[in-house]
Symmetry: C2
Subunit: 344 residues, 2 copies
């Protein structure tokens, strides 16, 4: 921290800014004034999301690297933009830096931020750099744009709509469980373990897939990104539209790594798929007639989309049709709750 004191707030800001390479044509004025200044197009909505990550609650510095932390801090915000059908443009980062952190750590953190900014053409347009008494905290605000007729919200699901999900939820939660315990105790190959850990530490926001949906003729009626767990986020969709849902256990996408690792370690595969959390996959509903359109459109996409169930008229009820034919009601809070799962 001696270096940090010497640099001071403004020295640090200059240094962090020097790591960041992407410059947005929308931005008239970036870091260095009281506000960032930008202009936006007519016919578009501005969309804004803000997310706080606090050491020990959202991440553990012993379990990740500064670069991956930087990437993920931005990725979870980009995911919110994707969930509205938009594209990200500008980011703002407030960072509270404890004494114990090295300048090297911060440089690497901003290098991680820079990589994902360059990948998605996002400019870091402002922020606030302050001291923190004990824990590192990171707050990112992201501003994106969406064409007015392409906005996708949580609230439009109707009975009979099909429910889809991108990718294979569940790996992230298993990755976290693995990271937080003694890795050697776990059965299964190192390759598979690394894969699920990667899913947790370096989630890929589904911007490409969201843009495919936005361009498609299929009528997407609602969309959300899975941060709290598939079921909990499906509840958010159901509550917003006063509908219910039935999920089909057989249809749920099960990643080979997740299937194998849960099996050899005596864990419940379906629990991870349904309640995992921090997957940052897209969960969306669309008119049942358009379900085949979507499947065709994603045929050659890198990320699969899978039909996993249907919206029902049973307001606030989400059930699972099990492989044995039985119907099991699902609880909303089977997913992640920041205030329940907090570090003691």
């Amino acid at each position: 921290m001696a270096d940090l004191k010497k640099l001071g707030e403004f020295g640090l800001i200059d240094r962090f800014h020097s790591h960041l390479k992407y410059r947005s044509p929308k931005l008239k004025l970036g870091i260095g004034d009281d506000c960032a200044v930008y202009s936006s197009k007519a016919g578009t909505y501005e969309i804004v999301s803000t997310d706080a990550l606090i050491e020990t609650v959202h991440f553990d510095l012993k379990l990740t690297t500064p670069r991956l932390l930087g990437r993920k801090a931005l990725a979870v915000n980009i995911s919110d933009i994707a969930a509205m059908g938009g594209v990200p443009r500008l980011a703002f980062i407030a960072i509270g830096i404890p004494n114990s952190l090295s300048l090297k750590f911060l440089d690497d953190f901003y290098k991680g931020i820079n990589r994902i900014c360059v990948e998605h053409k996002i400019e870091l347009a402002g922020g606030d750099t302050v001291a923190s008494p004990k824990h590192l905290f990171i707050n990112i605000t992201i501003i994106g744009e969406v064409a007015k007729n392409k906005l996708m919200t949580r609230s439009g699901a109707r009975p009979g709509d099909s429910i889809f999900v991108t990718g294979t939820p569940g790996e992230s939660a298993l990755g976290l469980k693995l990271l937080a315990s003694k890795r050697k105790k776990w059965k299964g190959s190192e390759r598979l373990k690394k894969q699920v850990i990667r899913s947790h530490l370096d989630p890929v926001p589904r911007l490409t897939e969201s843009q495919l949906l936005a361009k498609s003729k299929a009528r997407v009626t609602s969309m959300i990104d899975i941060s709290d767990g598939l079921v909990q986020d499906l509840f958010h969709i159901c509550e917003a539209a006063k509908v219910g849902a039935v999920l089909n256990e057989e249809w749920l996408p099960k990643s080979p790594a997740l299937r194998r690792l849960t099996s050899v370690n005596n864990l419940n595969l379906i629990d991870f798929v349904l309640a995992g959390g921090e997957d940052y996959e897209l969960l969306f509903t669309l008119k049942n007639e358009d379900a085949r359109k979507i499947s065709r459109q994603f045929e050659h996409a890198k990320t699969p989309v899978t039909r996993i169930g249907e919206i029902t008229s049973q307001s606030g009820k989400v059930v699972l049709q099990k492989e044995n034919g039985k119907i099991e009601p699902l609880q909303k809070n089977m997913g992640f709750n920041h205030f329940r799962s907090r570090t003691p």
Copy 2:
């Protein structure tokens, strides 16, 4: 915290939202989706500022009240919008809540936020509510608007321009000093003590004054709000335009309370005026010929504006012309530095 756990993240969000009364016509979608959605007018810039406040670094829960803390958290951001000549529209708050905080505290905090939102027609359009392991942290992002031809930045000062300041800087810093020590040891009346403490705990963002300037025909060449101290923020203006400045000790506005309390307690009045910090007054430069226009315009305003000096061509040099006629060079870092003045 038992209550907080029971409510969970979403219960808390609903509860906080219920405290907030102002609804913006710009906002299509507020709290409750992945992003806030809004549209903006053609011919305007969007302006964005983000500020983090961390317990023990930026505030002490023993020295303020939750309502005042809520007000100030937003006020310092509104001040950034005022410093660009704009008006605030939407706010986003990320809050990290430690175990030790009561629901009553949070309710009062949001009531403070609500009051200032209603006063300035700002809608809280989103945020993130998370647990924090030890310290309360608050991060506010604010979005405002400014007509494209009314944008005021830090960077336009030219040699010969007059330097003005609103109000009477210095009280806030004295208020903080008073709060942080044994109040009874201080000489001077309780009324004056209360006044400077109020200046620290409940600063008034200078939106009205900023709008008066924006509407005036006077050519404002640069503007900044004083958060780090008059001299340090004047350095920011000088550095942005590669100019210097001379301040005139005699002209500096000295609040009667500050004058009296520094005098009876053997403190240096001018140090507080120049280096105080957290004043949230506006510091601006304008064409010398327009100086009288401004003085006339503010004649009947509640908040005075005072001409305090002149921009010079001596890049990066800020000096004080003392009452005894001597010229004293001023140091940039005489103001507040988050990394130097941090709590040990």
